[in-house]
């Protein structure tokens, strides 16, 4: 409790002063004239009246002392889980909390910082951001200081050095001095590349010890995985740039993982691994369309292919067969020297897709060209055939060397009757034909698909190739097959064009063609057997597509190598899925017996793991800016002291916490010192005494 006298004159102070001076003058004159007689009483009366006019009050505050608050901020990011750091940090935190709570008038708050906390990029250890948050609701006048327990890799130290953080901030470093660590660093990697072109990744194995020091190692074993499969194993020198080159073979992300074997005595192997995701972008698609006799459906192919600006279409057809020669002079005929040999022999392998539309075998393309096409497919090419009546005849593609790669052989039958193409049971599970607009729902084959009818189907032997669509009497209509590295699709009808032309309101011709073409060109999202996974909002979503039903168990390996498994729940269209909550950053690998899916969570090469060695460099900057000390826990636990504000905050073996002696005012009482009645009584008394003395 403190009391204080307040002067609260209601009259102008100058006025009172003038009157007081006047009174003193008169008093002086009285002393001179009449001597001391009665003057003492007049002097007292004057003084009392002047004081009364100044209206003195006594103000009494009722105060409650408040505890000072100290913050213990514990770094629990990934790098703090290495070695003894975690134990040391926990022990130190417990000890600090105990000691601070035991200090009279001191409270303690504990704040833990995990991966992704703080502000900004959410990458790395963001202690200062977390510190700012912790100070947010804490009154400055009660802040006694903070003690940070960390490995010293603080990635937002500049927040403290920019000023604005209250101190003192002390840092206790949990790791060992002179730690050594090997890491794999990506020096340069492309974000995307063109499918079929080479990309190169430059990387370096760094063997480092304390600061910029290096420790010598022999050749380091490096393993390179591409999309989860081992591509190369190498022995490389450390602390030197190396280059890995590969050709992108599919669109979408390709994950290249580089991993160096752990060095002896190094901190952790987690950063011996780096991942590069290169997004494969298709160059212009090069499509070769080989048409037979001109017919109404031919332009449907052209319309479709030409409407896509990213397609380079090479169309080969024969408008005038050699046997049909009129006698028109050559200069009146639009003749084109079609580079047949160049296209079918030299550059056949450059095409992304070859489409045969009702092709009738003529002498123009000799058998050797078909052999080229067959080997193009085996080597990874894509061929789509739409066949008409010619397929069952003498001039059929099935009588060329192409026969080896065909998903079906002609039976010689030709069905010419109205029918609606249907999706087979298998087709409902296949990404190419599942949920095709207009199809009936799986299992309801009593319903009619809403697309238009066709009128011709070519009889094809049912082979091992999966049949996705069927036609007349369940005969196979769309078959798709993998042949060695390549893929072939066969449509056993030449009437897909009826869908494009809107007969009976048409059908999903463009969509079906797009999906078939993309499946042929190996877009992963259309693969019938596939496993994919993504991490979104802290959740790992796994999707398995399969032509076979049944529940399946997949294994999950977290970035730090923790293995678990999950059973997928079957869903429609051949999919089964699972969702798993995840909290690590890095690359998750999901696998079953045959497939591997990789799902990046957060940054692929997190800053948090870039340098794992303990350091006091950022800590010193922070301590200097916010008036605190830096100590290594390995040197022993410093003691704590309460210090007065503006005093030294740390010294040999001790760290200080500020005693602010803050209080809160719970009430104020104002009492007038000179109540009017008292003044009146004393005044009258003094006046009477004065007059009595003077009157004598």
């Amino acid at each position: 409790m403190t009391a204080e006298i307040l002067w609260t004159p209601s009259l102008p102070i100058q006025f009172i002063a003038v009157l007081a001076v006047l009174g003193l003058v008169l008093l002086g004159m009285q002393l001179l004239r009449t001597g001391r007689r009665g003057a003492i009483y007049r002097a007292l009366l004057l003084a009392m009246l002047v004081l009364t006019l100044l209206e003195p009050r006594i103000s009494v505050e009722e105060r409650t002392p408040e505890n000072d608050i100290a913050i213990v901020l514990v770094d629990e990011t990934s790098s703090q889980k290495i070695g003894e750091r975690k134990n040391r940090s926990e022990a130190a935190a417990a000890q600090l909390v105990g000691q601070i709570s035991a200090m009279p008038g001191m409270e303690v708050r504990t704040v833990t910082v995990r991966d992704g906390d703080g502000h900004g990029t959410k990458d790395g250890t963001r202690l200062m951001g977390a510190m700012t948050d912790a100070l947010g609701d804490l009154p400055r006048s009660r802040f006694a200081g903070a003690i940070l327990i960390t490995d010293g890799q603080i990635h937002d130290a500049e927040l403290a050095t920019n000023g604005g953080l209250a101190g003192p901030l002390h840092v206790l470093i949990s790791g060992d001095k002179d730690e050594k660590d090997r890491r794999l660093v990506i020096a340069d990697a492309p974000g995307y590349g063109i499918v079929g072109n080479e990309v190169s990744v430059r990387y370096r194995i760094e063997d480092r010890i304390a600061g910029d020091g290096r420790f010598g190692s022999d050749l380091v074993d490096v393993t390179i995985h591409v999309d989860g499969e081992v591509r190369e194993t190498l022995k490389l020198t450390a602390n030197q740039d190396h280059e890995f080159k590969m050709t992108l073979d599919h669109a979408g992300p390709t994950f290249i993982e580089l991993e160096a074997k752990a060095a002896e005595g190094e901190l952790s192997a987690v950063n011996n691994r780096a991942v590069v995701s290169v997004n494969g972008v298709r160059d212009r698609l090069k499509v070769l369309l080989v048409s037979g006799q001109p017919h109404a459906g031919e332009r449907t192919w052209r319309n479709l292919l030409k409407s896509d600006p990213s397609v380079d279409l090479v169309h080969f057809t024969i408008l005038r067969p050699p046997e049909k020669n009129d006698f028109t002079p050559l200069n009146e005929i639009s003749l084109i020297a079609f580079p047949v040999r160049e296209l079918f022999e030299e550059k056949i392998g450059e095409f992304d897709l070859i489409v045969f539309d009702r092709y009738v075998v003529r002498d123009v393309l000799p058998p050797i060209y078909f052999r080229n096409i067959a080997s193009y497919v085996r080597g990874g090419g894509a061929v789509l055939l739409s066949v008409g009546p010619e397929f069952g005849g003498l001039r059929s593609l099935a009588r060329t060397p192409l026969v080896d790669i065909l998903p079906g052989q002609p039976t010689g039958q030709i069905f010419e009757q109205k029918f609606k193409p249907r999706i087979t049971e298998l087709g409902h599970r296949h990404p190419v034909t599942s949920a095709l607009p207009g199809a009936v729902v799986p299992g309801r084959d009593d319903l009619e698909p809403s697309w238009g009818s066709w009128f011709r189907q070519i009889g094809v032997t049912t082979s091992v190739a999966p049949t996705l669509m069927s036609g007349v009497d369940g005969n196979p209509l769309l078959m798709m097959e993998r042949v060695d590295q390549g893929r072939v699709a066969l449509i056993a009808s030449d009437q897909l064009w009826l869908w494009a032309r809107g007969y009976e309101n048409g059908g999903p011709q463009a969509e079906l063609m797009r999906r078939i073409a993309h499946w042929l060109m190996k877009e992963p999202e259309l693969d019938e057997e596939g496993l994919s996974a993504v991490v979104e909002n802290g959740e790992l979503r796994i999707e398995r597509r399969s032509l076979n039903s049944g529940s399946e168990v997949v294994s999950i390996e977290s970035p730090s190598g923790i293995k678990s498994s999950v059973t997928l729940k079957p869903e429609a269209a051949g999919k089964s899925t699972a969702r798993v909550a995840v909290d690590e950053i890095g690359l998750y690998r999901i696998g079953d017996d045959t497939h591997i899916a990789l799902a990046p969570a957060g940054a692929l090469n997190p800053l948090e793991l870039a340098d794992l060695r303990s350091t006091d460099v950022p800590a010193k900057k922070i301590a200097e800016a916010a008036g605190g000390g830096v100590r290594w826990l390995v040197d022993g636990m410093p003691s704590l002291r309460g210090v007065q504000p503006d005093r030294q905050t740390h010294g040999a073996g001790w760290l200080g916490l500020v005693r602010n002696e803050a209080f809160s005012v719970t009430g104020v009482t104002n009492v007038p010192l000179a109540p009017w009645w008292l003044v009146l009584v004393i005044g009258l008394g003094l006046a009477s005494l004065a007059w009595w003395r003077e009157g004598r």
Partner: protein, 286 residues
């Protein structure tokens, strides 16, 4: 309030002192004392299906074979010339090209399904009436990749020309432009820059089309050269009508135009592609 009161007291006190001094030695002191702080609506459109009369046999015959079609005007003479003209053209196509087509087919828009036909030959006659259902069927046909050759058969400027103008309004046809020297019709099979029929020397009109849409093929081709008459042959395969101004060359050119036209509707801009071939082949080499 009390402040003023005590002020008064102080002043009186001072006055008293002054007075006391003033009258010191006999004066009586004065004796007196006194007191102070949304939504949206959806529309759904239904597709109007027109081909109600699509008899299955008609559909099968017309889709299994590629056939040319002509508009049945109701005028027996005109319809007969159209049929014979297209038969003549079909014969010449089979003789000279790989396009071996079926028998030409008469169609009535709104009654017959048009989707099967790559080309409809449309003789424009003043007395032909196109009702709403038929107009809609033609518009659908054109939208889905069909092509119509309007032939006023009058060398231009007659009553048929007026009828064509009315038709183009009924069918919402876009403005047409004359075929220029670079158009694919000038080189889709034969090289030619005039397109004579029974008559010669008039302009052939097409839609200005982009390369990406419909493979750049104009859904509308319009002229007045009476091509059906030039192509028409009797049962002995002899021409039925003389050509004007005349000569076998003109008839030959009329057939060449017919062949170019059919190649154009069947293979689109195939010939125009060849312009891009060297560039594509170069890219293939990379």
């Amino acid at each position: 309030m009390t402040g003023w009161f005590f002020l008064a007291v102080l002043i009186l006190f001072l006055v008293d002192m002054a007075a006391g001094l003033w009258i010191r030695g006999g004066g009586k002191p004065l004796r007196s004392v006194v007191a102070s702080m949304l939504l949206a609506a959806m529309l759904s459109g239904g597709n109007v299906s027109v081909g109600h009369a699509a008899d299955e046999k008609f559909a099968r015959d017309s889709s299994l074979e590629t056939r040319l079609a002509y508009l049945e005007t109701g005028n027996a003479r005109v319809d007969d010339v159209s049929l014979r003209g297209l038969m003549g053209l079909t014969t010449m196509l089979a003789r000279r090209t790989a396009a071996e087509l079926g028998t030409p087919q008469a169609v009535e828009p709104g009654i017959d399904e048009l989707a099967f036909f790559p080309l409809i030959y449309w003789p424009v006659t003043p007395d032909y009436e196109l009702d709403d259902v038929s107009a809609l069927a033609v518009k659908e046909y054109l939208k889905n990749g069909g092509t119509v050759l309007f032939d006023t058969q009058d060398r231009g400027g007659g009553a048929q020309a007026t009828a064509l103008r009315d038709l183009s309004i009924r069918l919402d046809l876009p403005p047409l432009v004359p075929v220029d020297a670079g158009h694919v019709l000038t080189r889709s099979f034969y090289l030619m820059n005039q397109f004579p029929g029974r008559y010669a020397g008039t302009t052939l009109w097409v839609e200005r089309a982009g390369e990406r849409v419909n493979d750049g093929v104009s859904p509308i081709i319009a002229g007045s050269n009476d091509w059906a008459s030039a192509w028409a042959m009797d049962d002995a395969q002899r021409p039925m009508f003389p050509v004007v101004p005349g000569g076998e060359r003109q008839r030959e050119m009329a057939f060449r135009f017919g062949i170019n036209l059919v190649m154009y509707v069947l293979t689109g801009n195939y010939k125009a592609d060849q312009v891009h071939m060297p560039a594509i082949i170069k890219r293939l080499g990379q």
